[in-house]
């Protein structure tokens, strides 16, 4: 029953001297899901993750992983947690395999088959000193260290920083595979496409506060579509009428573009009556949701 919530954060505040980095943060992560943690720079993502990892202690509030207090059960929990941060540092004087050997001993991982599998999958460079590796290759070593105990909870702080697109895709696949096997992934990011691609849920943060936690699929349903109409020259276009709910209307010489909540029959019928040469309707994109969310807040 305790496991029906993987991560529970309740009324957590964290103060660094005068800065209130987190203000009454609450959210929950369901097991066997990939949960995104999104927000602009300084929103408090890293602070929240450090609190979950018991690197720092809350000024107020409760943090639980798998039903256990993160502080009181720090060591026990870490047997079931994997952690990786995008800007982590490793022991530069060790080779990849020395480092992984060290981490296995500390984790109490006896069976090396999973580690070997990961090395193979990620094509990691194991026999060179870590200090000589590129950022991305270091990241692979870090990811192996995070995944080698087959953690029930994987906590990632902007994990794809410094990875090339190909590696990013491999990384997303590793994350999704992990979740498919019934494990929970909690990852911070400020890359929307990343969240869109891998996450089931997402919690939006801003200035130390949670804005909302939503399902990504719902979010996409709510997202606007961008309609672009191309016309022959010398044809003047009327702006779309208010009833369509269009926003962000813009003209160029040959095009008219606007956003609509949904490309429904009303919209199509209106388009059909225009002297159009071509129409494109872009699929829903989290970017616009994100922008809307943060812009709205700005006005408050």
């Amino acid at each position: 029953m305790a496991d029906s919530i993987a991560i529970n954060v309740e009324g957590v505040s964290k103060r660094f001297g005068k800065t209130l980095a987190l203000d009454q943060v609450s959210f929950q992560v369901k097991p066997a899901t990939v949960h995104g943690f999104l927000g602009p720079n300084g929103a408090g993502k890293t602070t929240t993750i450090k609190l979950l990892m018991d690197f720092i202690r809350p000024s107020k509030g409760k943090l639980e992983i798998l039903g256990k207090d993160t502080r009181a059960n720090s060591v026990v929990l870490k047997r079931r947690i994997g952690y990786l941060s995008g800007d982590f540092e490793l022991y530069n004087n060790l080779t990849g395999s020395q480092y992984i050997k060290y981490m296995s001993h500390l984790s109490g991982v006896k069976n090396q088959s999973r580690t070997l599998e990961l090395v193979e999958d990620l094509n990691a460079v194991m026999d060179r000193k870590i200090g000589l590796l590129s950022r991305g290759n270091k990241q692979k070593i870090g990811l192996i260290a995070a995944l080698m105990n087959d953690p029930d909870i994987l906590i990632l702080d902007e994990p794809t920083t410094g990875l090339d697109p190909l590696m990013q895709q491999k990384f997303y696949k590793a994350v999704r595979d992990h979740a498919k096997r019934g494990k929970t992934v909690f990852m911070s990011s400020h890359i929307l496409s990343e969240v869109q691609e891998v996450c089931d849920h997402v919690t939006f943060m801003k200035k130390g506060k949670v804005l909302e936690t939503v399902e990504v699929s719902n979010l996409l349903a709510k997202a606007t579509r961008r309609v672009v109409l191309t016309v022959d020259k010398n044809v003047t276009m009327m702006a779309p009428p208010k009833v369509l709910g269009a926003s962000n209307v813009s003209h160029t010489k040959h095009t008219l573009s606007f956003d609509v909540p949904q490309a429904d029959r009303k919209v199509m019928r209106w388009i059909a009556m225009q002297p159009v040469k071509d129409v494109t309707i872009n699929e829903a994109d989290l970017d616009s949701v994100f922008m809307n969310l943060y812009e709205d807040e700005e006005e408050v």
Partner: protein
Amino acid sequence: MFRSIFTKTLYDKRWFMLGWGLGAVSLLALTAAFFPSLSGNGMDALVKSLPPELEGILGDVEDWSTYPGYLASAVFGLRGEMLFVPMAILLGVGLGMGDESNRRLYQLLAKPVSRRRVVLERWLAGLVVIAVVTGIVYASLVVVSPMIGEDVPYELLNGITVITALFTAALFSLTYGLGVATGRKNLAILVPVVWTMGSLLVDAFKLQIDWLKDLEWVSLLSYYKTADLVHDDINLNHVVVLGCIALISLIVALIAFQNRDIHEEA
């Protein structure tokens, strides 16, 4: 080598051990090797040329004419302090703060290891490093003494080695403890440096200035007097004071580290 934090730390410090071991040997054993050329007239001249302040630091210069006295005062004495004080502070800062200031502590604490274990294993590794370096010095003097035609003064050498290791361990623990407990590198360096510099001043001027004599107990270096070992056994009070500095530092580190945030920029 990578089975525990303890062994991994020793692996990290292998060049440190070798470097300081060889450095200590070249400074101390070479100084010892000069004894024959200094004994006799050379020594008298040297002793006469020393300013009186140095007597406070170096002990009774009359002793220098015998090999054991020379070992205890000239070979160790100020040279020992000059060597082991920086070594202790560097080792303490390195082991206490290295990982944290390089942001590598996160990866370690993400594994199922308690903070207590991290503090304790690193401290123990530090003690082993000190034991190895002082052991190398001991061995080198055992080898060098017969080469210059002197008997090895084993009893004295044992005493000197023990008190040197203990003094270094105390200063190392103090630096380490301050760093681990507060997460502040500057503080961890400043306190032991100021203390030893202050101690050096107290030692230097205590023969000239009366009220400094009463302050002698504050001087850290007054608990590391190898020159006295020529005539006396190891002073148990000194052993207790140095041991307490080491243990209290460790205990404070264990408790404080348990309860503090890991710092980003240490």
